[in-house]
Symmetry: C2
Subunit: 210 residues, 2 copies
């Protein structure tokens, strides 16, 4: 299907924001990363009230729109709707993908999967893409399960929707994640903590070019 | 207006759930409180993932519907929408009432106000009712501002929408909260921690009868 191919292209360099309190810093890094070629930005704020999170979402929606990038909100479907995000990303204990997709079919729904089973179930629930990982050890998510490249390869054979590898991915590792079957790479610190976020995004775009 | 009068009646005995982990316990207390005459139930879960919170919301939606009571969700507009709640309640740092109301006009929107200024602004933003308090000292919300009965009286003169007093309200204090101008009383522990939640709800209904 054409649409799936398009989505896969737009998930190629996928930036997930971190929890730093300074909104201007987040916006500045995202703006530079978009210049470098980030194709999708996910707003993830695990411990922020709805008011400030919505303000940040509206700012990132404007930035991503200006660059033709996707904008996805983690977990908070309400903030995704109010900020006119392209989609929402849910973990295994967040809102059920099937329900979200059935009520808001126009939204892209991404699901975090840590095993082939979870991936197959997410696809059956109507997920549009998967975040599979943690591919490598990571300090960003304390509760992350290490899946390795093998789970990524097995998941690629088991499902038809695009897969984004996530967890500990660096510029140096990006190519092998794509070689293992991922359509895109999702990173937090490889861009958020880079001394030059634009250069980091450019390098990730090069490493994942098809 | 008739509609406001109806809403005021339905806010008379307003139960806010607590954060106890056991969902069955919450459902059991809410069921007994509804038998006792609770007219509105607000689901407030400050530290729960979307998946389990939605399951609890769906259970409370069924219970409140069976008793003709209102069902309101605190902060999580998405869970309010997915559980077909009657409304959403937002604090001063949650989603902005004006935006929620403009996008989802069919939802009842309640706003927490700690001063006449916040109350007047919330009414201008389209709030359908106010939660004013904390009327008395309370241990349920650590960050609560003590407003006293005076703020309640001043707010009653300043706005036209129904007011629910909240914060440290007991059966013994309910009548003076209503006498100060509140259309309803909101309680957490007076029902959630009562040895007999049904009897506590009955007593609150008697004390607030018009
Ligand atoms: Ni196809």
């Amino acid at each position: 299907m054409r649409r799936v191919k398009d989505l896969a292209d737009r998930l190629r360099v996928y930036l997930v924001t971190d929890d730093r309190p300074d909104h201007e810093e987040v916006q500045d890094i995202v703006a530079r990363a978009l210049l470098g070629g980030v194709t999708c930005v996910q707003l993830r704020r695990k411990s922020e009230d709805g008011g400030p999170m919505l303000r940040l979402a509206l700012a990132l929606r404007e930035l991503t729109r200006a660059h033709g990038a996707l904008f996805i909100v983690n977990d908070r479907l309400d903030i995704a709707l109010l900020s006119e995000a392209d989609g929402v990303h849910v973990g295994q204990t967040d809102l059920p993908a099937r329900l979200v997709k059935s009520r808001f079919p126009g939204l892209i729904v991404g699901v975090s999967a840590r095993s082939v089973d979870e991936a197959v179930r997410a696809e059956a629930d109507g997920a549009d893409y998967l975040g599979v990982g943690s591919v490598y050890p990571t300090s960003t998510k304390g509760d992350a399960v290490l899946t390795g490249l093998e789970t990524l390869q097995a998941t690629r054979r088991a499902v038809h929707i695009p897969i984004v590898g996530i967890g500990g991915i660096t510029v140096e590792r990006a190519a092998e994640v794509v070689a293992a079957g991922a359509e895109g790479v999702a990173v937090v610190s490889a861009i958020m903590s880079a001394s030059d976020p634009q250069a980091a995004a450019e390098a990730l775009a090069r490493q994942t070019a098809r």
